[in-house]
């Protein structure tokens, strides 16, 4: 990569993470002010979303879960329509019927978002099968948590994808938490990626707080999938630094552990790295930050002023 494209890529990754952070913190603040229902944020994990999604091509598909704002925004979803969905408004991507936890945007290829933990794993094989039978070269990225990796459907999904050569990039965002249960209370090993071996699949763990490392690991994995049409398990090892669902006082969290991960904040670290390397200037980054703030202000205004769905909507979209 030459300097200019490196700078472009860095800007995009940084902008994406900042946008995700700003969007989620605004949604959380709105909840605290009584202006929005609860929501799940991915604060602390932005590098995972931005790094992986930016490695995908536009015809690739994404399945995600309750903690999806990052994947959607990195993919280019409109923050206004997303915020409207969070608020249950008619202008939301799902007409307010989803609310915050299962936003799908079909036109962007972010499909079948589900808040059933493991739902995305159960559906990804079918999407992979469609893609593969249609002869498309698309890759299906399936995001899930360390909790989902405890569900039986994880086992079933990876086994089938491997057996049938389905082009699925499994991305386990191991954020150390399963709602109010620490990951260590749910499994003996620290990592999920070695489980890929049970299915004859390749698996790799990457530092989920280093956006460039994630991006690079995802690129390698995606290239491999395109070449071999076989699935791949990528684990992004990271940490959820806000609560599980707003509001959440996090009294169940070990403060030292939390502090140690906050010290490794993906946005702050990346900023430091970029400035140190001189890739981007401080002014540049500040401009991105300001632009994002403006975007989010606009998004929240749009969402707040949007109408709720009409009462008749209660009964529509049930059957095709």
């Amino acid at each position: 990569m030459d300097m200019e494209s490196r700078r472009e890529s860095a800007r995009a990754l940084f902008q994406s993470m900042v946008l995700i952070r700003a969007f989620e913190e605004r949604a959380a603040a709105a909840q605290a002010e009584g202006k929005a229902p609860g929501t799940c944020t991915s604060v602390g994990q932005e590098a995972s979303a931005a790094g992986v999604v930016k490695a995908l091509s536009s015809n690739d598909l994404i399945l995600t879960n309750h903690r999806s704002a990052g994947h959607l925004l990195a993919r280019g979803a409109d923050p206004g329509r997303m915020m409207a969905e969070v608020l249950g408004k008619a202008t939301g991507y799902c007409k307010g019927k989803s609310g915050t936890l299962h936003i799908s945007v079909k036109e962007l290829g972010v499909i079948l978002t589900s808040t059933i933990v493991g739902g995305e794993l159960s559906l990804a094989t079918g999407v992979g099968l469609s893609v593969s039978m249609q002869g498309s070269d698309a890759v299906v990225a399936c995001f899930f948590g360390d909790g989902a990796a405890c569900e039986g459907i994880f086992h079933e999904s990876l086994n089938l994808a491997s057996l049938w050569n389905l082009p699925v990039l499994y991305v386990c965002e191991n954020n150390q938490w399963q709602a109010f249960v620490h990951r260590k209370e749910t499994m003996l090993a620290d990592h999920i990626s070695p489980r890929a071996a049970s299915y004859g699949m390749d698996g790799v763990t990457v530092d989920g707080n280093d956006v460039e490392a994630v991006n690079e690991a995802a690129r390698v994995a995606i290239a491999k999938i395109r070449e071999t049409r076989k699935p791949f398990l990528l684990e992004t090892y990271t940490y959820r630094t806000r609560g599980h669902y707003e509001p959440d006082d996090q009294t169940y969290v070990d403060p030292e552990e939390l502090a140690s991960w906050k010290a490794r904040d993906p946005i702050a670290s990346y900023k430091k790295k970029l400035l140190a390397a001189g890739t981007v200037s401080e002014a540049d980054l500040a401009a991105i930050q300001r632009e994002v703030e403006t975007t989010i202000d606009g998004a929240f205004l749009f969402a707040s002023e949007s109408p709720y769905p009409a009462a008749e909507e209660l009964l529509t979209d049930v059957y095709a």
């Binding site: 799908s104 589900s114 739902g119 459907i153 049930v318």
Partner: protein
């Protein structure tokens, strides 16, 4: 017309629909083994055996259905659907609505159930009411080979998730089936026998108990109309309400356990929407609220019989 079993009628429907539409695929535990004629015609990509894992079979179907394929999956016996409830109910049934209409799920789930095989409640559990009670699904349960074919073809063409129950006691009984294009629309009941004194409403195997009972009753001067629901969701209310408005009496019959079964819905609908026409209580004859036993005589005793229906109707008509 040819005389074939329901099992063969299903094979015919699958082959015809796969020929007609290249997006129709079929998979499940042993589908490729049991339907090798489909493998021969359509190849191993469209007709597949799977690992023993109902959850991912159904999930794969839902994911594929939402992205351009029309999967037919075989989950073997109805109790095994327990491992696929999330995929069928929470994904296929709800994600259209939850996404504001962005996705549709044209998929068919086949499952056998009912008495006749003597292997007990972990194979024999008439749980169709679960799916009738779940939003976004359609539910079908045919009573004869022609309907097996026609309803399966309609189910495959439907853009919604259909749970299609095969009453095992009917699968190997032959009947007349039209060749080629024979599509029975979902949501339409049949009236295999007309009558004026009482309406017998049923589906699946017990339709035949109703028909036998009607024959016996005819000899006693009681004229029974038989309604075969065929589709359990959407229910053809108009069909059975019209019949009850005519006869003034209703007996609802099914093999599934009584409590909260489909018969409860039918009886409650009658009690609400055709109350004024009723000359007597709405009677339900159903399986007892116990797991299905294996032992042959107990298994048989589980299933509503023509004799029970006759006795009930006599009581109702006051003869």
């Amino acid at each position: 017309m040819s005389t074939i079993t329901a099992h063969e009628a299903i094979g015919q429907a699958l082959a015809e629909e796969m020929r007609r539409d290249s997006t129709v695929i079929a998979f499940g535990e042993g589908v490729a083994t049991k339907r090798h004629e489909l493998v021969e015609e359509f190849g191993r990509a469209r007709v597949r055996n799977t690992p023993l894992a109902e959850g991912i079979i159904a999930g794969t179907a839902a994911g594929a259905a939402a992205t351009g394929l029309r999967p037919v999956i075989d989950l073997l016996f109805a109790p095994f659907i327990c491992f696929a409830m999330d995929e069928i109910v929470n994904s296929a049934g709800k994600l259209r609505y939850m996404s504001g209409g962005q996705f549709s799920f044209p998929m068919v789930t086949l499952a056998m159930t009912g008495a006749g095989w003597g292997v007990g409640a972990q194979h024999n559990h008439n749980n169709e009411a679960w799916f009738v009670h779940s939003p976004g699904l359609k539910v079908v349960m045919p009573s004869n080979p022609a309907d097996f074919k026609g309803l399966l073809k309609a189910s495959i063409r439907d853009d919604n998730p259909v749970v299609f129950f095969l009453d095992i006691g009917l699968l190997y009984v032959p009947g007349e089936v039209p060749e080629g294009e024979h599509v029975v629309p979902l949501g339409k009941a049949a009236i295999p026998r007309e009558g004026s004194d009482v309406t017998l409403i049923s589906y699946g195997k017990t339709v035949h108990a109703c028909l036998a009972a009607a024959k016996t009753l005819e000899g006693e001067g009681i004229s029974a109309e038989v309604v075969d629901l065929r589709t359990l969701k959407p229910l053809d209310e108009e069909a059975f309400l019209a019949s009850v408005r005519k006869t003034g009496r209703a007996v609802v019959v099914h093999e599934a356990s009584r409590t909260c079964g489909v018969g409860a819905e039918v009886a409650a609908t009658i009690a609400e929407k055709s109350f004024a026409s009723l000359a007597g209580p709405v009677v339900r004859i159903a399986g007892p609220d116990v797991p299905a036993p294996s032992s042959y005589p107990l298994e048989q005793a589980f299933v509503p019989s023509a004799a029970q229906i006759v006795t009930s109707v006599r009581g109702l008509v006051g003869k």
